[in-house]
Amino acid sequence: MVRFILKRLGLALITLWLLSVIVFALGQVLPSDPARSILGPLAAPSAVRALDHQLGVDKPVLTQYWNWITNFPGTSNQYQAPIGPILTSALGRSLKLAIFALIILVPLGIVGGVISALNAGKPIDRTISVVGQSMLTVPEFVSGIILLVVFAVELGWLPVTATAPPGSSFLTQLKYLILPVIPLVMVLFGYIARMARVGTIEALDSDYARTATLKGLPRGVMIRRHVLRNSLMPTITVIATQTGYLIGGLLVVEVLFRYNGVGELTYNASIQHDIPMLEACVLTIGVVYMVVTLVADITFSLLNPRIRLKAAE
C-alpha cells in the first residue's frame, strides 16, 4: 500500500514538473514586454532596459525558469504587488463557490444515478440520462444567461452579481451564490449521475446483492446497506476527474457573474498580459487539479480491497 502511494506521488511530481515547464514555456511564447508595460509607452529605452535587467527577463531561459520556480509565485506586473496574497484570497473565494456547487451537485447526481439504475430501461431512466447528457455540453455562460434573465431580471428573486456587499451575513452570501452555482451543477450532473447509475447497476447484479435479497432482506434495506456503498465507488473517481471542468466552469461563471475568484483573476491576467500572474494562476489550477486527482486515487484504492490487496503483493 505504501509503495502504491509512493509510486503515485512520484508520478504526480513528474507530472507537476512537466506542467511547470509547459506553463513556463507558454509564458515565454507570450509576446510580452514587461518593463515597457510597467513603465508605459513614453519611458526612455534605457529605463526599460534597466528594469528588464532588474526583472531578470534578459537572462538565459534556464536561469529565468530557475528564478521563477525558486521565487514562486513572484510579483504581479498589473498590481505591482506580490502575487501570493492576491492569489490566496481569490482561491479562497473560488473554493467557496466550488464547495457550494459540490454540496448540491454530489447528492443530486448520486440520487439521479440511483433512481436511473433502479428503473433501468424505463422512461425515467432514459429521461435522466438524456437530460444529464444534454446539459453536459451546454456552456455555463448559456445556462447562466438564461437563469440571469429569468430569475434575476424578470422575476427579481436573486441578485445579478455573485459578490455580496462586504460584511454580509453567511446566508446573504449564499443567496448571491445560488445563481452562479446552478450552471456548474448542470454541467457536471450528467457525469456523476451516469457513473452512479453504472455503479448501482453493477452492485444490483452482484452475488452479494442477490444473497441479501434471497435471505429475505427488504429491498430498501438491501439497497441502503449493500448497493449504495458500492455504487458510490466509481463516483469518487468521477468527481475528481471532473475538477478540471469545474475549474474551467468557474472561470466562465466568475466572469459572467463578476465574482473575483481565481478564474476571473486568470482571465484578467490574460487580458492584461500580466504574465507572472497568469503563470502563477495556471500552475496553481494545475496543482489543485492534480492534488484532487491524487487524493481521489488514493482514497479509491483505500476503499477498494481489490486494488489495496493487489498493491500489497
Partner: protein
C-alpha cells in the same frame, strides 16, 4: 492452409460482416427518437449555416438607430439589439462560424489524437510512459483556461481557434484510442501481421486503425459538442470569433451588460440557439454510442 491464405479468403466475409453490422446500427438509429430529434435540429442549423443570409428576414449587419433595443414584435420577431440590428437575422446567420470551426478543430484533434494513441497503445513501454506523462500534464489545465492563455498570445483568429482546440483535444482522444489499441494489439490478426513481417506503421494504420474506428467515431461526435462548447465559451470571453461576425457567443458578450435594464431578448434567443445546437449533437452522439455498443 498457409497463413498467407487466410486473410485473402476471409477478407470478403469479414467485409460483408462489417457491412451487415453497419446496416444494423443504422436501422437501430432510425428507430431511436432521440437520434431523429437530434438530426432534425442539427439539419436546421446546418441549413442556416449554409443559406443563412438568404433565409434571414433582414441583414444581420444593418444598423437602424431609430429601432434600437426594441422588444420582440411582428416586425422583429426576436427584437433588435443596441445598434438596432434584427436579432432573428443575427441568430440565423450566427451559427455559421461555429459550424465551420468546430468540425475542423475536432477533425484536427481526432487525427492527431488517433496517431498518438496508436503509437502509445502499440509500442507501450517508454513511448507510452513519456507521452502519457505529457497527456496527464496537459489534462491538468482545463480547456477554457488553456484557451485563455493561448489565444491572446497567438492572435485571435478562427484559424488559431481551430488549432488551439484541436491541440487541446489531442491528448483526450489519444487516451481513448490508446485504450482501444491496447485491447486490439493482443488479438491474433495483429500477431499474424507481425509474423508476416509487416512493419509497425502498416500494422498500426492498416490493420489496427479500421478496428478501432467505432470508438474514434463516438469520440469524434462527443468532442464535436465540446468543441462548440469551447468555441462559444472562448468567444463569450472575447477570445474566439471576433466582431463584426454575427456570432452567438459574441452577441451574448456584447449584450449581457444591458440585460439588467430589461433587454432580455438581446441574449436569450442566442442562448437558446446555442443550447439547441449542442443538445442536438449530444442526442446524436448518445444514440450512436448506444447503437454501436448496443
Amino acid at each position: 492452409m498457409s497463413i498467407v491464405d487466410i486473410p485473402v479468403e476471409d477478407a470478403g466475409v469479414l467485409a460483408a460482416g462489417r457491412r451487415e453490422i453497419r446496416r444494423d446500427v443504422f436501422r437501430e438509429l432510425l428507430r431511436s427518437p432521440t437520434f431523429i430529434v437530434g438530426v432534425i435540429v442539427l439539419s436546421i442549423w446546418i441549413i442556416c449555416a449554409i443559406f443563412g443570409a438568404a433565409i434571414a428576414p433582414h441583414s444581420p449587419y444593418a444598423q437602424n438607430l431609430e429601432e434600437i433595443n426594441k422588444a420582440p414584435s411582428s416586425a422583429h420577431l426576436f427584437g433588435t439589439d443596441q445598434l438596432g440590428r434584427d436579432m432573428l437575422s443575427r441568430v440565423i446567420v450566427g451559427v455559421r462560424d461555429v459550424m465551420i470551426i468546430a468540425p475542423l478543430a475536432t477533425l484536427l484533434g481526432t487525427v492527431l489524437g488517433t496517431a498518438i494513441g496508436l503509437l502509445m497503445g502499440y509500442f507501450r513501454g517508454a513511448v507510452d510512459d513519456v507521452l502519457g506523462r505529457f497527456v496527464e500534464a496537459f489534462l491538468a489545465i482545463p480547456v477554457v483556461v488553456l484557451g485563455v492563455i493561448a489565444l491572446p498570445t497567438l492572435g485571435r483568429s478562427n484559424l488559431v481557434l481551430i488549432i488551439v482546440i484541436g491541440l487541446v483535444f489531442t491528448p483526450l482522444i489519444a487516451r481513448t484510442v490508446r485504450a482501444a489499441v491496447l485491447l486490439e494489439r493482443e488479438l491474433d490478426y495483429v500477431a499474424a501481421a507481425r509474423l508476416r513481417g509487416e512493419r509497425a506503421p502498416y500494422i498500426m494504420f492498416v490493420e489496427i486503425l479500421p478496428n478501432v474506428f467505432a470508438p474514434i467515431m463516438v469520440e469524434f461526435t462527443v468532442r464535436l459538442a465540446y468543441a462548440i462548447y469551447a468555441i462559444l465559451t472562448l468567444t463569450f470571453l472575447g477570445l474566439g470569433v471576433q466582431p463584426p461576425s454575427p456570432d452567438w457567443g459574441l452577441d451574448i458578450a456584447a449584450n449581457y451588460g444591458v440585460v439588467p435594464a430589461g433587454y432580455w431578448w438581446e441574449v436569450l434567443f442566442d442562448a437558446i440557439a446555442i443550447a439547441t445546437l449542442v443538445v442536438s449533437i449530444t442526442l446524436i452522439s448518445d444514440s450512436v454510442q448506444g447503437a454501436l455498443e448496443g
